[in-house]
Structures are given as C-alpha cells and as structure tokens.
Amino acid sequence: MVDPSSTEPTDHQLVKRVQRGDKRAFDLLVLKYQFKLQAIVGRFIRDVDEVADVTQEAFIKAYRAMPNFRGDSQFYTWLYRIAVNTAKNYLASKSRRPATADVEIVDAEQFSNNDRFLDESTPESELLGAELQLTIDSALSALPDDLRTALTLREFDGLSYEDIAVIMECPVGTVRSRIFRAREAVDQKVLHLLDKN
C-alpha cells in the first residue's frame, strides 16, 4: 500500500498552486482526500449526512488557512488535523461527545484505509464497497502481466517509476505508460460499475 507520505510531492505541487491562487489545484486535493477525510470524521460522527457536512467544512477551513501552510508537516497531516478539530468543534457545538475515542493527530501518519469508513455504514454503501473491490480485483487479474506488475509495484510497494524501470528492465517512459494503461483498464470497469449504481 502506498503510504500517504509517498504522494507528498504531488500534494506539494498542488499546494503551491493553490497558494498562488489556483482553485483548480484545490479541487484535485479535495477529490484525492475526500474519502479519507470522511473516514476520519466518521470516527467522531456517526450520521452520514453530518459527516459529509463536517468534511466539507473542514475542506473550506483548509482552503482559508492555506496561506498559513508552510509545508513544515505533510499536507495530509495538516488536513487531517483540521478535519479532527472541525469534527470536535462540531460535536462541542452540539454538546455531544465524540462517537469514538479521541483520535490523536499522530494517528494521521499511520492512518490508512484499513480503518473502515463508518462502522455503521448503510447496506447500500457496503454493497457498493464490496462490488467495487470485486471489480477492481477482477480487472487487475485480467491485466497483462507487464501492466499488472507495474501497477502493483507502484500501488502496493510505493516504488518510484525509476525503481520500477530498474526492476522491470525497461525505460521509465514505458513504466509510466504501463501504469497508466493498467489504471485505465481498471478505471473503465469501475466507471461501468458506478454508472450502473
């Protein structure tokens, strides 16, 4: 699995863009982290609608605070802290205790998707999640070896294109192309699934 820190250069690029006034870059950050952030907020708040609202508020707070982000910590950690504080403030305003035990900021470093989003997720969402997993597994199995290897080395082992190129004994450009083609093949199946639902 790719550690969030391994994608930090992408975040750094996007953050710099946002700080220069490019809202589109922030949009990409929202698209990238919306589910992870909802999962974090979901540890405090049980209601799905409230989770969405609080997560949205956290993103807006993050956008407003973006000029203050100096890059001393990872963007994801910083975002995580904002989400946790927003969730806590929300509960305080409602005079409710957090749904689960306090989540410490340091948890952000270790946080992964193994923490399931919303323990009390709806049957529909569970079904969709299961279907999604099945679709991805099936799509990965159907990939040619070279594509599957490239994507696996990237997604599971977090290797750089350069390292993958050395392992697969091919140019970096080929690695890039293989990973893209693999993602694209999986994406077509996922798109079909999401359209169906």
Binding site: M1, V2, T7, P9, T10, Q13, R17, V18, R20, G21, K23, R24, F26, D27, L28, V30, L31, K32, Q34, F35, K36, Q38, A39, V51, A52, Q56, F59, I60, Y63, R64, P67, S112, N113, N114, D115, R116, F117, T122, S125, E126, L128, G129, A130, L132, Q133, I136, E155, S160, Y161, R176, I179, F180, E184, V186, D187, Q188, V190, L191, L194, D195
Partner: protein, 236 residues
C-alpha cells in the same frame, strides 16, 4: 465508451493524471491537467463527464484507496466543496500582492534602468562611430590652451551650449550646462587632396552637362555660364 474511442489528446492528459498521482509530472504537465480540469467542469453530458480528467483523477484515487484493502462508502462531496470554494476569494494572490507588488515594482524599475543604461551606451557607441566616420571629434577645449593643428575651426565666439543630464547612484538628477567648443579635426593633407578630387569631378560633370545642354536644351548657354562661373570661383 471503449478505450480506443477516447481522443489521443484525452489519452495523453489521462496519462498525465496517472503520473500526477505518482508525483511524476513536470510543472507544464501539471498546468495542462489543471487546465483540463477547469475545461471539464463545464461539461454537462454524463458520459463525457465520466471520461473527464476530473472524474478520472477521482476514480484513480478511489481505485488506489480500494486496492489498499478498504472498501469505503462512496459519498462524493467534491462538487459541494468546489461550489463553496468558488465563492471564496483567491486570497493568496491578494495576500501576497503587497510583497509581490513591491518586488514587481522594483523589477520594473530595474528593467527600465537597465534598458536606459544599455540604450545610452548603444546610442553613445553609435554616435562615436558616426563621429569617427566623418572625422569630426567633439572635445572640450580648455580656453586657456591655444588650439594647435586643426585645419578648420569654428569662429571663436561660436560656443554651442550642451545640456547633459547625468544620473547618479543616489538618484539625484543633475543638470550641467557647460560651454563646449566644437572643433573639426581633419588631416590637412588629406583634406587638400579630397578638395582637389572633388573640384576635378565637379568640372567633369559640368562639362558633360554643358555639352549636352547646349545641344538639347532651350537655354543652352546658361549651363555654360554656370560652368564659367564655377571656373572663376575656382580661380579665386
């Protein structure tokens, strides 16, 4: 829509999106992706939206997260956040504008100063070449020191004033007005030879002209008179 139906440009962009996920893109590619995201936001057609760069970015991450063994409930809040952010000020530009503005103004001032210096240098250079080509030197002559050598001089009371503006490092503008005597410097021997050449050439031209004019012109005698007049002048 199958993979082959996607235009090449979209394929390239999608590949850039994939590489961006892995932090393997240049600034130029990032710029292209962001531009595509912006363009795609206005797409209404659901099929096209599904193939949009924005959607791909979102789904690529969804797959990436899911590959990490975590089926997650899917709740897309990106559009709501995007709409909320759209109403926000692009604070960063204004927040940095004071600092950037000063830097910008300094840069402009420095550029203007640099252009002025280069321009003056080049102008002076070309002036210098021009002056050399006509064998005329502009020099300030100490009035106490008698002129030596120059063949041709302007009258003694001819003192054109030259207004020069100097720029100091402290930014104080000074204007000096000093009398400058222009002296044409030429080699006397060369001048004499050139005068003789010119006179002989002029005589040839006039003679040719007179010959033709006396035959063809209705006032054939006048050129001759001018020729004679020139000849008399020469004798003087």
């Amino acid at each position: 829509m199958s993979e082959t139906e996607i235009p090449n440009s979209q394929q390239r962009l999608a590949e850039s999106v994939s590489a961006l996920m892995d932090a393997e893109v240049s600034e130029m590619e990032l710029h292209q992706v962001l531009k595509a995201v912006d363009d795609n936001q206005s797409v209404d057609d659901s099929v096209l939206k599904g193939q949009s760069i924005r959607s791909k970015w979102s789904r690529y991450h969804l797959v990436s997260d899911s590959m990490a063994d975590a089926p997650m409930a899917y709740r897309d809040i990106s559009s709501a956040v995007s709409a909320a952010i759209a109403t926000e000020d692009t604070y960063s530009v204004s927040a940095n504008s004071s600092g950037m503005g000063q830097i910008g103004r300094f840069a402009v001032a420095a550029s203007v100063a640099m252009i002025a210096i280069i321009g003056v240098q080049q102008y002076n250079g070309s002036m210098h070449q021009d002056i050399q080509s006509i064998q005329v030197a502009e020099m300030q002559v100490d009035n106490a020191e008698p002129n030596r050598g120059p063949a041709i001089q302007f009258p003694a009371d001819f003192q054109p004033s030259v207004q020069a503006r100097t720029v100091s490092a402290g930014g104080v503008v000074k204007t000096s007005r000093s009398p400058v005597t222009l002296v044409q410097v030429a080699n006397p021997d060369a001048n004499l030879a050139r005068n003789q050449q010119l006179r002989s050439l002029l005589s040839e031209v006039l003679e040719t002209h007179v010959t033709n004019e006396s035959v063809n012109g209705i006032q054939g005698m006048l050129p001759l008179a001018r020729h004679l007049d020139a000849g008399e002048g020469e004798l003087e």
